[in-house]
């Protein structure tokens, strides 16, 4: 077994490259510090939008969204205004375990793999997994997980009751996950082992502000959580064989929110979006005078006649509308500080390629630091502050670590999430 070149992939959802560097320097993550000198730790770019569904889909397929067809946790069903939550079955490209089905896999808590499918090995889907029964393969593995109180995610509703209660749940979920993955590590003769720690993303979303407030009662908890992650990095490093390939990654970075920016409200106020009145507003309220609308987080879709029931925008209209929208978004500024909000307006053809392009948003926006771009419908004001959500994704601050002295040559200068599978192949010597 010692000669076998196994692959170990460790995901740390939402862990920012910059923060890991800080934690290495300050001694919060000693095991990562040790590894840093034995391999290559790089800043990595997430795809746009920098959202876990898109990013993990790129990681598991090695493809850009124009190929795998996932552009967010939500999307609109073609020819309707019905919003849906795509899932693993929506991915239009092969994952690494589908490409090499004969290898033996253990994949625990990889986001966006619900509903779980047959695999040669063991799999537990990560978030969003509404039904535990459809998240575990093989079925018999479910009993074991239930006995160990395995939970896919901490109950985020608890945060609205008590921050401490939510933190306790976050630590407990992590602890139970560790117990499960450590047990199965030894029990299965696997070729590829993938474990994703997702509590870091939750921690960021709800507690990112405490990093700037050392006096906060939750500051130590934040650091403690990363210490727990580092313990697992240490355990995995100890367990790995010399021949094993070890890679670690996050799907995006995280930063503190200054304000939430409701782009649909901005479009409404500027005459690009018109919604009929009703008690509950959703995309079905879009009227035929609408030129564009936004899906979470900052995906701009034109209301095409060929794609939507109330669409009136033609191919010929596209260019002028896109130019108008670009100007409009570049003009958007935050009244409290006069800062401009939009750093980049990106056309889909600039960043995507592949046969899923027709489903891609026409424009994607990248914000300046601290502005969380949102596609919420029905908000009266463009700007809002959340009492609960304190952290937002940062696409250009994900990380990638590749272990080994030969890693430097395998990792491109500015790695992207879809480069991970090609890097694995290089490391395997293929």
């Amino acid at each position: 077994m010692a000669d076998k070149k196994r692959i170990i992939l460790v995901g740390i959802d939402g862990a920012p490259f910059t923060l890991l560097r800080d934690f290495i320097a300050s001694g919060v993550m000693p095991n990562l510090q040790k590894l840093e000198s034995q391999g290559t730790l790089s800043r990595m770019a997430a795809p746009l939008p920098d959202n876990s569904a898109v990013s993990w889909s790129s990681i598991m397929t090695g493809k850009n969204p124009g190929e795998h067809g996932i552009f967010g946790f939500t999307d609109i069903i073609p020819n309707t205004y019905t919003m849906h939550f795509p899932n693993f079955l929506s991915i239009q490209a092969e994952t690494f375990w589908q490409r090499e089905p004969d290898k033996k896999y253990v994949i625990i808590n990889l986001p966006f793999t619900y509903p779980v499918q047959t695999i040669n090995g063991y799999m537990v889907s990560g978030f969003v997994s509404p039904n535990m029964e459809k998240s575990v393969y093989p079925e018999q593995f479910l009993d074991y997980l239930k006995k160990n109180d395995y939970q896919i995610d901490a109950d985020t509703r608890k945060i609205y009751q008590s921050k401490q209660m939510f933190l306790n749940s976050l630590f407990q979920v992590h602890k139970n996950r560790v117990q499960v993955y450590r047990t199965i590590w030894d029990e299965v003769d696997w070729d590829v082992f993938m474990i994703v720690f997702t509590g870091t993303d939750r921690l960021g979303h709800y507690f990112q502000d405490v990093l700037e407030k050392k006096e906060s009662e939750y500051y130590d908890s934040y650091l403690e959580y990363y210490r727990k992650i580092d313990e697992e990095i240490g355990w995995i490093t100890d367990q790995k064989n010399d021949n094993d390939i070890l890679m670690m990654m996050s799907d995006h970075g995280m930063e503190r929110i200054t304000a939430e920016v409701h782009l649909n409200t901005y479009l409404e106020q500027n005459g690009f979006l018109d919604l009929s009145k009703s008690e509950r507003i959703n995309y079905n309220n879009i009227t035929n005078t609408t030129k564009a609308f936004v899906l979470e987080p900052a995906r701009i879709h034109l209301n095409y006649a060929s794609q939507y029931p109330n669409g009136k925008v033609t191919k010929e209209d596209r260019e002028p509308i896109i130019r108008d929208l670009t100007d409009l978004f570049q003009d958007l500024s935050y009244p409290d500080s006069n800062e401009t909000i939009i750093a980049e307006v990106v056309r889909k053809e600039e960043i995507y390629s592949g046969d899923q392009m027709e489903h891609a948003p026409d424009l994607l926006l990248v914000s300046h630091k601290g502005f969380s771009l949102r596609g919420t419908l029905g908000k009266r004001e463009i700007f809002s502050q959340s009492d609960t959500i304190k952290g937002m994704h940062r696409g250009d601050d994900a990380f990638l670590y590749v272990h080994g002295s030969n890693a430097a040559s395998a990792v491109p200068e500015n790695p992207k999430t879809e480069d991970i599978l090609p890097i694995v192949n290089t490391m395997k010597g293929e």
Binding site: N79, Y81, T82, H84, F85, N87, N282
Partner: protein
């Protein structure tokens, strides 16, 4: 004009998986629980059995928008929609099986051949010859290229029906699997028990199977206009439930009756079984969020559908005996045999009628436009109201003028206990308005088709063989005797009572 079901949404679609996604128990009980079940955006999310790649989504896709629904002759039609017909060997079941299969539905069905047995018990036979089921299925394949998945079983054999439902996972179930005869249920205690056992208990068992195996399916169940009786006040026969503006006034106070089941006044133990079904189905929809259309069908008549007429081996059965022959069908057979058309009692009974071909079209329209979860709805499936005297006059005049027969009419003592002279107003608004059904076949047209078929020598011979089974012998008193002849007369020679049926279609 858009098809009638274009604006229906996932709420009506049997492929939408609500179970496990929507906690119906919360509805109307705990607002907090509903809120907790709703997502961040306050929307109910479901999955689609046919399009699992959509993941979770709001149930707001219209049939017009959905790629699984395609425009067809009778509205949007769910691609390869799986429909199971219970009682597929019967007069209606076979005709519907062929029609649905021809339209592209995936049809399955069961039957225990009770109808063949009970008609034989009477010493009668279907006067339009029919093949045994195996040969019917071969003929459907050979002549029309249709595949139908049939199993022989009784609806009460739940150990067989359950697995068949699991296998087929029908998206609609048409329930024709009941014994449809008032006189048969009045023969004696054993017959009464047999009818209620098969009908009421069979249907109750079916409801439990649906709950456990196919809760998303729509149950399209055959009831009868006879459930309502004929109220002497002339109160309209609403479609199962009172409309919201129906008011009960008593001692100076008023209450809306809207949504309540209207009174039933069945006229035989068979009709009682249908009334019991009504309540069982209604309750199942309430307890388990099943969905059902209860079809209060008028008296059915006729021989023609395009599919059954395509080949003699594809014909559906046609009974004329006192137990199973419906009145128009029986009258035509009597006319051909030179037997006076026999009217029970005063002949002033007014009833709703519908031709076979029209009834089949109604069923297709209902199948493609399912109710929402928890919705129990009733449609009065009638296309015309006729007084029995008038129906006899019409048939006699076609017989005499077009077929040179010398048909007479006779009144016999009424073996039944029923109101013989009454006003009659029926509401039948849903089929023409919500489902855009338009009557295609007039009474005269279908009578003519029946005459054409029944005057063929080999069929005429079969009528002659069983003509003795036409006149009633089964009395509601329990007696078995010939009915007394009250009078015999020539058509056109009598003046009838003043009541005329009122059919409210608007």
């Amino acid at each position: 004009m858009k098809p009638h079901n274009a604006e229906k949404t996932c709420w009506n679609c049997p492929a939408a998986l609500f179970k496990g996604n929507v906690d119906f128990r919360a509805c109307g009980q705990s607002q907090e629980e509903i809120k907790a079940k709703l997502g961040e955006e306050g929307q109910i999310m479901i999955e689609c059995a046919r399009r699992p790649e959509l993941g979770y989504f709001e149930p707001t896709i219209t049939f017009e928008q959905c790629t699984e629904w395609e425009k067809g002759e009778y509205g949007y039609q769910l691609k390869d929609m799986r429909v199971m017909i219970l009682g597929m060997d019967g007069y209606l079941g076979w005709a519907l099986a062929l029609k649905l299969a021809k339209l592209g539905f995936r049809v399955s069905g069961i039957d225990n051949y009770t109808r063949r047995d009970t008609v034989m018990e009477k010493g009668a036979h279907t006067i339009v010859p029919i093949e045994k089921m195996t040969d019917r299925l071969h003929a459907a394949q050979d002549v029309l290229g249709l595949h139908i998945n049939f199993r022989r079983m009784d609806i009460r054999e739940r150990d067989k029906l359950g697995p068949f439902l699991e296998e087929e996972k029908p998206e609609a179930i048409v329930h024709y699997g009941e014994i449809p005869s008032a006189p048969y249920s009045m023969v004696d205690v054993d017959h009464a028990l047999a009818v209620q056992d098969n009908n009421t208990l069979g249907t109750l068992g079916l409801l439990w199977l649906i709950k456990d195996i196919v809760p998303e399916t729509s149950l399209i169940k055959l009831g009868t206009m006879g459930e309502y009786g004929a109220p002497l006040t002339g109160r309209p026969l609403f479609e199962g439930m009172f409309p919201s503006d129906a008011i009960l006034k008593w001692r100076g106070k008023e209450w809306s009756l809207g949504g309540e089941i209207t009174p039933r006044d069945p006229v035989s133990f068979y009709h009682v079984s249908k009334v019991q079904d009504t309540f069982n189905v209604y309750e199942a929809c309430k307890y388990w969020w099943l969905r059902s259309y209860d079809i209060q069908q008028g008296v059915i008549y006729g021989v023609h559908t395009d599919e059954t007429a395509a080949d003699p081996r594809l014909r559906t059965r046609f009974d004329i005996d006192e137990w199973f022959g419906t009145v128009v069908n029986r009258f035509v057979a009597q006319a051909i045999m030179g037997i006076p058309l026999s009217i029970y009692g005063a002949g002033e009974q007014i009833k709703g009628f519908i031709a076979l071909e029209d009834a089949m079209e109604c069923m297709v329209r209902l199948i493609v436009s399912p109710p929402e979860p928890g919705q129990y709805d009733v449609v009065n499936q009638v296309s015309g109201l006729y007084k029995l005297n008038d129906a006899a006059e019409t048939i006699a005049s076609v017989a005499n003028e077009k077929y040179n027969l010398d048909t007479k009419i006779q009144r016999v003592s009424n073996p039944r206990v029923e109101t013989e002279i009454h006003p009659f107003e029926t509401v039948s608004r849903k089929l023409p308005n919500e489902f855009k059904f338009k009557q295609r076949v007039s009474l005269e047209k279908e009578i003519d088709r029946i005459f054409k078929l029944l005057t063929q020598p080999h069929i005429k011979k079969r009528i002659a063989e069983k003509a003795h089974t036409i006149l009633p012998k089964t009395h509601w008193t329990g007696e078995k005797k010939d009915a007394d002849i009250i009078e015999t007369y020539k058509p056109g020679s009598k003046t009838y009572g003043e009541y005329q049926g009122i059919l409210d279609l608007e």
